[in-house]
C-alpha cells in the first residue's frame, strides 16, 4: 500500500472522531507547548543576564580590597604601580564611590559620585554624548571638573546643554566638561544616575583617602586570565592574606552563569517533557480503544489482503498524525505563550529553533513509540476472529 493512501486512511480515521482526536492531540499540545515555553523563557532570561554582565564592559576585571583600616586601602599611585608592567592590560582605573547631592541653580538631584581616572572611558567602554572626557592632567592636578549621566542632565538642566556650566556637588563647585551617552541598567542599577569626577578630587570631596576598588581591562579573553593571576600574585605579596582582596572576572562569571542557566533550562525542559510523555500515554490509550472498536474493520482489511505490515503501518501513521499535529500546534502555542510571559517578566523572547525541532521529533517519537503496542495488537489479529467480533 502506498504512503499517500495510508495517510488518507489515517486522516479519515482521525476526522471521523473529532472530539476524541482533538482531546488526544490537546495532550500532546500541552506537552510540546510546555517544553517550548519553558525553553524560550529560560533562554530569554539567560540572554538578559548575559547582556547585563556584558554591559560592564568586555574582558573586565573588578578588583576589590576588603577589610578596614588604613593598611587595607591602596593609593591611586599604588594601583597604577600594582598593575604596571603586566602584559595585555588595556587600561586601569581606580574607582572611589560615594553619593552626592548635585545642585544647579535651585534644582537638586541625588546622584552616585564616581571618582575615576582618564582611562575609565576605555576600561568601561563609555561613550560621550557631548564634551570631553577626563585627562591625565585633570586627575593629577585635582581639577574640579565633572561628567554627568543622562538622568542628572535631565533633572538639573532639562533640555539645555550643561557643558561649560557649573554644578555644585555637596556644596563644591565643579565645571561640567561632558555628558555621558545613555547606558541603561547595569547589575548595580542604572548608570545614568552617575557623575564622574577625577579620583583625586573625589577623595577630597568624600573625605576618604585611598582606593578600595579598581577596574582592569584586558586586551582579549586570554590575557584576562593572565592579568588576573598576576594581580592576585602581587596583591598577595602586598597583604599576605588571600581574604584581603577579591578579583571578579566578568568573562568567567559569564561562563558560570551560562552553565547554570543551561542546566536549569535542561531541568525545566525535562519536567515539561514529562507532560509530553503523559500526552503520549493519552495517544496509546485512544489507539487501544480504536483498535478494539475497529476490530471488524481490521479483520475485513486482512481478509481482502492487508498484511500485518499494512495494518501496523496504518495505525502507526494514525498515532504519528495525532502527535505530529499536536507537535505543530504545540510549538505555535508554546511560542505565543513564551512571548506573553517574556513580555510580562520583561525579558526578551527567544524562539528556540533547536528546541522546536527537538520537540517535534520528540512528539513524533512519543506518538510512534506509544503507537507501536496498539498497532501490533491490531496487526496480530486473526482475520476470522476479528470479523466475528461484534
Amino acid at each position: 500500500m502506498d504512503f499517500a493512501t495510508s495517510l488518507k486512511i489515517g486522516l479519515k480515521a482521525i476526522l471521523s472522531n473529532r472530539l476524541r482526536s482533538g482531546l488526544t492531540i490537546l495532550g500532546v499540545v500541552i506537552g510540546v507547548a510546555a517544553v517550548i515555553g519553558v525553553v524560550a523563557v529560560a533562554q530569554g532570561s539567560q540572554r538578559q543576564v548575559t547582556s547585563q554582565i556584558e554591559s560592564l564592559g568586555t574582558y573586565l576585571l573588578t578588583v576589590s580590597i576588603r577589610g578596614r583600616g588604613a593598611d587595607r586601602v591602596l593609593t591611586c599611585d599604588e594601583v597604577m604601580e600594582l598593575t604596571g608592567g603586566i602584559d595585555g592590560v588595556a587600561g586601569v582605573s581606580p574607582v572611589v564611590t560615594g553619593s552626592a547631592t548635585a545642585k544647579y541653580g535651585t534644582r537638586k538631584y541625588e546622584c552616585t559620585l564616581l571618582g575615576v581616572n582618564e582611562q575609565y572611558a576605555t576600561v568601561r567602554d563609555l561613550r560621550l554624548q557631548t564634551g570631553r572626557f577626563l585627562t591625565q592632567l585633570d586627575v593629577s592636578t585635582r581639577q574640579k571638573v565633572a561628567l554627568l549621566g543622562q538622568n542628572v542632565v535631565t533633572e538639573l538642566f532639562g533640555l539645555s546643554d550643561p557643558v561649560g556650566k557649573e554644578v555644585k556637588l555637596n556644596g563644591q563647585t565643579f565645571a561640567v566638561i561632558g555628558v555621558l551617552a545613555p547606558r541603561g541598567g547595569g547589575p548595580a542599577g542604572t548608570e545614568d544616575d552617575q557623575v564622574l569626577i577625577p579620583v583625586t578630587s573625589a577623595e577630597r570631596l568624600i573625605g576618604r583617602r585611598g582606593v578600595s576598588t579598581f577596574y582592569v581591562k584586558g586586551r582579549d579573553k586570554e590575557s584576562v586570565g593572565q592579568i588576573s593571576a598576576a594581580i592576585s600574585d602581587r596583591l598577595y605579596r602586598r597583604f599576605r592574606d588571600e581574604e584581603a582582596y577579591r578579583i571578579f572576572d566578568q568573562t568567567q562569571m559569564l561562563e558560570t552563569i551560562t552553565n547554570i542557566s543551561q542546566t536549569l533550562t535542561l531541568m525545566l525542559a525535562s519536567i515539561a517533557f514529562i507532560s509530553l510523555l503523559v500526552g503520549g500515554i493519552g495517544i496509546m490509550n485512544i489507539m487501544l480503544v480504536s483498535v478494539v472498536e475497529r476490530t471488524r474493520e481490521i479483520g475485513l482489511r486482512k481478509a481482502v489482503g492487508a498484511t500485518r505490515r499494512d495494518v501496523m503501518r496504518q495505525f502507526l501513521i494514525e498515532s504519528a498524525l495525532l502527535s505530529g499535529i499536536g507537535g505543530v500546534v504545540g510549538i505555535i502555542t508554546g511560542a505565543t505563550l513564551a512571548r506573553g510571559i517574556a513580555s510580562a517578566i520583561k525579558v526578551p523572547a527567544v524562539f528556540p529553533w533547536a528546541g522546536a525541532g527537538i520537540a517535534i521529533a520528540l512528539a513524533l517519537a512519543v506518538g510512534i513509540g506509544f503507537g507501536i503496542y496498539p498497532a501490533s495488537r491490531a496487526a496480530n489479529l486473526e482475520p476470522i476472529e476479528a470479523l466475528r467480533t461484534e
Binding site: M1, G299, L300, A303, V304, G305, P383
Partner: protein, 224 residues
C-alpha cells in the same frame, strides 16, 4: 485447482475441543460451480474459511492453484487472499465510513495499484453488479441487496480465480437473493470457480455440483 486431503480443524474453547472438520477430502476443478450444504454447525463455514486462506487447518493438506497453502506464512497467505480469492460474507462486511467505490477499491489498495487505475477498475466492477449509479453512496444508504452486490464487486474487482461465498443470500429476501445468484451465475460463466455455502435448496440447485457436509465429514458429493 483445489485439492484437500484429510482436512481437519479443531477449535479449542477453554477446556472443550470442538472438532469442526474431522477429515475432509475432495478436489475441485477450474471453472466449477459448487454448492456446499449441510445442517447448522456441520462445519461449512469452517471449510470455507480454510479454502479462503482466512484460517489455517489443524491437520491435513490444502493445495490451491498448485501451491501447498497449508505451509504458507501469514503474509504469503495475505497475498493469496489478495490476488487469487474473492470472499463474500453473509453479513456483507462493508466498511461503514467508506463509499461503495472505496469499499470496492480495498483489495487493489493492498495490491499497490495506483489510485487512477484503482478508481477505474472499482467503477467497472460496480457497473458489472448493476450499481454504476451508486458509487458515492455509503453502505448505510444502500439496501441489503445493494450492499451484498457491492461486496461481490469488491470480491471480483481483483479478478480472482476463486470466488467463495458463505450464505450470500442468507440476509436477503428471495427476490434480491435471486439477483445475487444471477450474478454468481454470470461470474461462473466468465470462467471463475465459484464455491457457495447455502441453506436454500433453490440456490443449491443452480450449482453444477453439491457437497454435503455433516458433523465435520463429507457426506455426499453429487454432480447435477
Amino acid at each position: 485447482m483445489i485439492k484437500v486431503e484429510d482436512l481437519r480443524k479443531t477449535y479449542r474453547a477453554g477446556l472443550v475441543e470442538v472438532h469442526a472438520l474431522r477429515g475432509v477430502s475432495f478436489e475441485i476443478d477450474r471453472g466449477e460451480y459448487v454448492a456446499v450444504v449441510g445442517p447448522s454447525g456441520s462445519g461449512k463455514s469452517t471449510l470455507m474459511h480454510l479454502l479462503g486462506c482466512l484460517d489455517v487447518p489443524t491437520a491435513g493438506r490444502y493445495i490451491f492453484d498448485g501451491v501447498e497453502v497449508s505451509a504458507l506464512r501469514e503474509d504469503e497467505l495475505a497475498k493469496v487472499r489478495n490476488r487469487k480469492i474473492g470472499f463474500v460474507f453473509q453479513s456483507f462486511h462493508l466498511l461503514p465510513r467508506l463509499t461503495a467505490l472505496e469499499n470496492v477499491e480495498l483489495p487493489l489498495v493492498y495490491r499497490g495499484v495506483d489510485t487512477a487505475t484503482r478508481r477505474e477498475r472499482a467503477r467497472r466492477a460496480l457497473e458489472m453488479v448493476g450499481l454504476g449509479a451508486r458509487v458515492q453512496h455509503y453502505p448505510n444508504e444502500l439496501s441489503g441487496g445493494e450492499q451484498q452486490r457491492v461486496a461481490i464487486a469488491r470480491a471480483m474487482v481483483g479478478e480472482p480465480v476463486l470466488l467463495l461465498a458463505d450464505e450470500p443470500t442468507g440476509n436477503l429476501d428471495s427476490r434480491t437473493g435471486a439477483e445475487v445468484l444471477d450474478l454468481f451465475q454470470r461470474i461462473n460463466d466468465a470462467g471463475c470457480t465459484v464455491i457457495m455455502v447455502t441453506h436454500d435448496l433453490n440456490a443449491a440447485s443452480r450449482a453444477k455440483r453439491i457437497l454435503r457436509i455433516r458433523d465435520g465429514l463429507l457426506e455426499g458429493d453429487e454432480r447435477v
